[in-house]
Each structure stands twice: as structure tokens, then as C-alpha cells.
Symmetry: C3
Subunit: 337 residues, 3 copies
């Protein structure tokens, strides 16, 4: 039930069109002319809507579908009631994204630089950019084409941002170089000093932080997440990585490509993550660790040692996933004696 | 010792007046004309002040009270020194709130819309609202009566906010509908995209997030907390719930009425919480969980399974509270062998 | 490799000068006239650069140094290749800070109050302050000399800030008194209401929060960190303490001098920490605890009881460090049977 006061929606999409958009096969070809109301979940879809069914665990929900149509796989088709028009897809999740993008869009105003945005004379702004009210863009900043810079966002001197980036409202960026197609959410803090100091005569003396934050292409940084700049080296976020809300990434961290870092993870300084590493929510990493490519670390785990590529770990301190489950079972069994 | 440079205070409240405000009974009626200096804690109250004593554990502190007066229960009265004027109350905590609200107030300027606030021509602002400097209010936004919108806060297009709400400084709100009497603290981020994507050919493809955030009446959202909007469904916060600072609430979560979610909790997507659920600080919930009404989850717990109504759990992964304590005792005892 | 588009750098510093700045001894006096390119890490330093070597664990890295010069101790000198000019220092870390501060600086514009900053007529601003665009300074605020107030930052009525403070962009400060030489990073929230309420007839009734936040001298508060003001008492941060990003400090907490509170720590209300307490990342403290001076609490630990001065603890619930390690070993060994 997409709320049309917030989103733009196409009102006249037929099942045949939808099948084409999704590269899916409409089984009952004679229903191709029927109009789709909304995309909805299996449980909430009304008789006008289309829903998606791709998880065998939901087969009971599938039996109760009221929707006009359902996108599913050949293997799951049998669980869908006969009144529902089935659209077969090898990958219903991907199909879901495609139909979504076809039917709906966020409202987007024409590119415009608000008169109240304070843009330094030496800054260079690309074509077709939107800059919100009271945004502040520092000296020598370079912003590419088709970017959106939110209201009340502050971008410090000399930062460089690529094309097609969206920097939301109330963001702070300093000492950073950001690639193309990045999405920085509200309240993110990027490029502030790392947490470095040296105790001298009972006083924590600040260690100058003279590095940068380098963010690749197609990176997301969540709301209120923090990425500190490097001390001498840079803090680096690889292409395609996804960083959720309230994550902390400390100075000199190197995050590989395609990593997924779930909300409230904390990574201490000078860690190196390979590619496609997945960190569950609230995971903590000690400093100077090497985490191999493809490693998966379960939520709330604490990591004190390097982890080899491909490992799946859990616990604080973390151990291989199977060992953790054994420990849990052992404790549960023996503590009851 | 309330600092009168920050707060407004009545200087001439007598013990008799205070008793009336609190529906308490002043034992020594002859002292009813004495003026109260300040409300203070048992330990810091001077001879001019009034303090509150409601926890038997503090009976030693009570014996050392220097205050002019003390609000306490009949059961605890005996621990208060004789020089102190006792005011008896069935509920001193409630009495504390009442006297506080009677004696003190935050300074509040007359309602005023700052000339620098950027308010879209299509936005509707209710009566007696205050809108701070450099706030940005988008197209079609509707704000009720008696609201305060902080400085540098940004409210995106089509959002609706009820009456008597206070949205603090530096807040971001998008795609949200908020009820009456809500208090959104500084730096909160509400309504940004959920963390959803699908791996297609090695690339994390964003799943469009087309839901909303629906917040009931009398809800608090803490400083720098994040509430993502739903993907298709909405993210919902029930009436009377309290969300502390730095909490993460993910897309499609449904939080019941009267829940208390302490600082730094993280709730993954599509969870459903009943009413009056209490989550201690830094608790983490996996996605798609059902947590029954009245459940209490101790701080730092990790939840991977549904929890039945009324349960009290602890640990990561969490177990019933008593089991957790047994596990702790078992480990402590046996690891020392 | 400091990026000179972001930082100011001296280009003509000789080894002799560097030795003097660091109070170090250049072994090969005849090389005193050589110019230093950059300060760099052992691994990344080119033949023009100077690096620092102070950790015996890095002796293999030391053998591979390509740098022109290396600052190290007499004890470690033997691991440095002969082509490298050695500068002997008793404390290379301290020397690193000194040379950094001598060679590099952040770009700093001349003090200037931006015309768009909204400063109340009753506010007092000291000498040589910089106030950024769209900053909002409330009634009766007092700010000392040589302060920097960031863009879009909001400082509420009656707050007082000492000399030489730097308050970054997008910060919110209310009901606070801040000393000299403090550094408040982007997005920090200081002085909002504590999380206090009383359940009355099924409704969480707010307990008025009438205290302040008192921050000493030389304190750092990290990006997006939150410090709630006290309820009646104040929340207090002692001189020289360091608070990292995304930390939560609740109402009435008293933090001693020189404490180090790493990212994502959460301290519940009314705790008292002594001096030089160290809390690792993601540590959680229950309310009303006393933590003695010099206590060290390992990352992710959960604290439910008071801790005596000097203790080193770990785990959730935390135990003495050695006990924790024994528990981990016990579990690992016995769960595999």
C-alpha cells in the first residue's frame, strides 16, 4: 500500500507489462490486460495487488494470498491458490526490485541550487545538481554532476565528490574524497579526527590526524554513522560497500569492496577488511586486525584476532560458528545440573 | 540546586502549598508557612530544601538528611531525622514530578516563526507554533498547533506532525506521520531508507524503500536515534513508547504501546514488539522476531528467537533470566578448577 | 603522504631541524642538512620521508624501511637498515607528535563571524572567534576567546563556553557549561533531557530534567556522541577526559579526570567514574555504579556491579580479566568433548 502522498506511482500497469519489466512469464496469458493496484506483501495484498513469494518457509502465507497476482518460482508455484495469476521468475527478489523501480519513484524536484546555500567562490559544482537550503560548501570543494546535497549539510574545504551522489540533510563531511553513485544518509559524520592521543605527564596529548577518508564508487553510509579520517594513512571504504546507521569506522581502517556492515558495528583503528565481508549488527573489532574476504561475523560478536578468508564466526570473543553453538549447548545443558 | 540561569523557578512556595500540589500530608502542620528553597537529592539538600525518599535501600542516607523537608511514605517515615518536616505521600516519585512541574519550568519564548526558517508555500503550520532559525519545512508538510520545530531541523515533503509536538534542533524527518504530544530530540533521524539490497552479479542492488514511519501519540525519540522507514509496509511506533538516544529501529519494525527502549538498542528489520516491552541498553534483536507484550530483555542481550509475552531474558543468545544467572555461576565455579 | 590540498605543510625541514624539534639525536650528524619529504608510516615511507619505529613487534617492518630517516629508541636502533638516518629519542611517540605539529597544520581561516550566524543580542562572544554559517547562538550565551563554532551548530540559551574551544559543525548544545580547550566534534548532542519517567496509570510520565552538563577543561566529545543533562544533579565530565564517537552518557553521570571512553560505550544514569578510567568500545554500564580510578574495562564488557580502583575486567557480566580468560578457555575445551 504505497502512500501516494509521499511517492509517485504508475496507476495503469498491466500484468503483461509487469511480466515484461521483470522478464517473468505470466502463466495465464488471458489475464495480461488486468491492471495492478499496488505491490504489497503476501499478507497485506488486496485483490487488486501483486505480491512476491520466494521463501519456502512462507508457504502457509502463500496459501492465504488474496492478491490478484503473485511472482514466484516454478518450484514454489504449487503453493499459490488458483485464483491468483502466477508470474514465474527465476529470481523473484530481483523481479521485485525491477517492478518497484518501474511502478514507483521518490518525488524529485528539478535540480536547483537554493539561494540560501553558502557556496565558496572557489568551489566547483557540476551540472544538474541540487543543493538544499542552508547547506555550506567550503573552499575548493569539487562536486560532480547530478548530485544532491541536502539542507543544512556542511562540506569542508577541498573535499571532492563524484557524480550522481546523494548527500542527505544534516550531514558533515571533511577531509574526504568520495566516488560516484554514493549515498550518504542524514546525520552521517565523515572525516573528523580519529581518536588518537598519547599520555604525556598525565595528559592525553592529541596525535595530529592528517589523513583523509577515501570512499569508492557506489557506497552507502547510513544515518548518523561516523567514519574518522586517517592519522597518516587514509581511511578507505571500497566500491560497493554498504554501511548501516550508527556504525563507527575508526582511523586508518581499510574496508574492501562489497562489504556489508550492519547497524551499530564498531571497528577500531587500522583494521583491514577484505571484500564481501559481512558484519552483523553491534559487532566490535579490536584494532589492527586483518579480516579476510568473505568472512561473516554474527551479530554482537567481538573480534580480538585476525580471521581467515571465508570463516563464519560468532561470540565474544568470537569462535567458529559451530564451536559457538556447541558452547551455547554445553552451557545450557551443564548449568542446569 | 536548580540553576536559575537555565530554568525558571518559583521562589515563594510554602510547605503547605507543596503538600497541596502533591496531595501529600504535612505532618507538622505548624510548619506549613515555611518557604522551600529548592528541590534537591537527599545527599545534596541544604537546610532550605526539600528532598524525596522512597527507596528503603537509601535509609542510611535518609538518616543524614539536612533538608528542611522530606517527602516519603508512612513506612519509611521512621528513618527521617526529627528536625525534618515530613510530608507523607503514597507515591513520592509521582509527588516529585508534581512538585517539580509546579516549582520549575524550562524557559520558553513566545511562539514565533523565525524569519530565516524556509517553509514551503504549500506547507500548513498550526496555531502558536515556534519554528527555529534555518529550519527547513518541505512541500505539503502539515504541522499541528503548539508545536516547536528546532533550529536547523529539516522536515521533508508531505510529512504530517500532530499537535503539541516538540522537534528539537538539528533533526531530520522524512516520509513520516507523527501523532500528538511527541518529543523528538536533537539529531534524531526518522524516515530514511531502510538497509535493504539484493546481491545481483556481485553488486548490492538497492531495494526501493517505499514505506513510511508512523509514530503514535506521546512518543519520545532520543538524541541521534535512527528510525528507518518501511520497505513496503510501514515502520510503526505505538502510543506512549519511549526510545532513548542512539537507538536503531530498522525498516518495517512494529513497536507496541508503552515500550521502553534504552540507549544503543538495535532492532533489525520486520520485528514486532507487543506493548510495554522493555529493552535494556545495547540489546540487539535479529530480524523478523515477535516479542510478546511485557517482555523484559536485560541490557546487552542478543535475541535470535521469538519471545513469549511476559518473559524476562538475558544473555547473548538470551535465555530466561534465571538460566542466565545459573550459567554465570556455573562458569565462574567450574572455570577455576 | 600528507595531502597538501587538505593540510598545510612545511617543505624545507631538515633532519637537523627535526632532531631539534623532537629533542632527538641525529646519529649521522653529516646528514643534518637533508630535507625531509613527509612523515609517513614505516611501510609507506619513500626515500624522501621520515618514519617512526617504537614497537619491537614491528622489527621486521623496520628491516624493510625505505625512508630517508627513522626516529627510534637506542634499544630498537639495531633493526633499522644502515642507509637510514637514525634519530634517537627516548619517546618516539611523543617525538612523532612534536614533528607532526611542527611540519603540518590544518588550514585555518582568519577568525570571522559569518554574517548568517544568528547570534542573540544578549550573547557575549569573546575575542578572535570564528562562527560558521547558519550557526545559532541563544540568549545570554557566553563564549570565550579564540573559539570556533561550526556551521549549522546550535547553542541554547544561557550556555557558557570557555576559551580556545572548538565546537564543530552540526552540533547541538543546551543547558551546558563547558571549560577551556575543549573539542566537541560534529553531530555531538550535549545537554538534552535525560531518559527519565515514571509509570503512572499505564503512562510513562516524564520526570522533569532540571540539571546541567558541566564539562571541564581539555575535554573531547566525539562525533554523534550524546551527553544528557542531569535530572536534579548535574552530569559532569572531568578535565582531560576523552569521549569517542557515538558514546552515550546518561543523566547525573560523573566522569572523572583523564578518562578514556571508546566508541559506542553506553553509561546508564547516575554512575560515578574515578580518574583515568578506560572503557573499551561498546562497554555498557548499568545505572548507579561506582567505578574506581584506574579501572580498565575491556571492549564489549557489561558492568552490573561497582568496581574497585585499579581493577582490569572483561566479559558480560564482567569479571577480573584473568577469570574471563579462564572461562573462555574452559568453555572452548569442555564444549568440544
Amino acid at each position: 500500500m504505497v502512500d501516494k502522498s509521499f511517492y509517485l506511482a504508475k496507476n495503469d500497469v498491466t500484468l503483461a507489462q509487469a511480466a515484461e519489466v521483470m522478464s517473468a512469464t505470466l502463466c495465464a496469458k488471458e489475464r495480461g490486460g488486468e491492471i495492478i493496484g499496488d505491490i504489497a506483501t503476501m499478507g497485506s495484498a488486496t485483490e487488486a495487488d501483486i505480491c512476491f513469494f520466494y521463501d519456502r518457509k512462507s508457504k502457509e502465507k502463500a496459501a492465504a494470498i488474496k492478491a490478484k497476482a503473485c511472482v514466484t518460482t516454478a518450484a514454489l508455484q504449487e503453493f499459490v491458490p488458483p485464483h491468483v495469476a502466477v508470474l514465474l521468475s527465476d529470481n523473484p527478489k530481483e523481479a521485485f526490485i525491477k517492478l518497484n523501480e518501474f511502478m514507483y519513484a521518490e518525488k524529485k524536484a528539478a535540480p536547483q541550487i537554493d539561494a540560501s546555500a553558502k557556496i565558496a567562490a572557489t568551489a566547483k559544482i557540476g551540472k544538474d545538481c541540487t543543493i538544499g537550503a542552508y547547506a555550506v560548501i567550503g573552499e575548493n570543494v569539487e562536486i560532480g554532476d547530478n548530485c544532491i546535497i541536502g539542507a543544512n549539510t556542511v562540506i569542508g574545504h577541498d573535499c571532492r565528490i563524484g557524480n550522481n551522489c546523494r548527500i542527505d540533510n544534516n550531514v558533515s563531511i571533511d577531509y574526504s574524497i568520495i566516488g560516484n553513485n554514493c549515498y550518504i544518509f542524514t546525520g552521517a559524520r565523515i572525516g573528523q579526527d580519529g581518536f588518537g592521543f598519547q599520555l604525556i605527564n598525565g595528559q592525553h596529548h592529541r596525535i595530529p590526524q592528517l589523513g583523509r577518508v577515501i570512499i569508492g564508487n557506489d557506497v552507502e553510509v547510513g544515518a548518523n554513522a561516523c567514519i574518522d579520517r586517517g592519522a597518516l594513512d587514509d581511511t578507505v571504504i571500497g566500491d560497493g560497500s554498504r554501511i548501516d546507521n550508527l556504525v563507527q569506522i575508526a582511523h586508518n581502517d581499510k574496508i574492501g569492496r562489497g562489504c556489508v556492515i550492519v547497524s551499530q558495528v564498531g571497528i577500531a583503528g587500522s583494521c583491514t577488511l577484505g571484500d564481501y565481508v559481512v558484519l552483523g549488527g553491534q559487532v566490535g573489532l579490536a584494532d589492527h586486525l586483518n579480516i579476510g574476504s568473505g568472512v561473516q561475523i554474527a551479530a554482537q560478536s567481538g573480534v580480538m584476532r585476525d580471521i581467515e578468508a571465508g570463516a563464519v564466526v560468532m561470540g565474544s570473543p568470537c569462535v567458529p560458528f559451530k564451536d559457538f553453538m556447541r558452547q551455547v549447548a554445553f552451557l545450557q545443558k551443564n548449568s542446569k545440573k
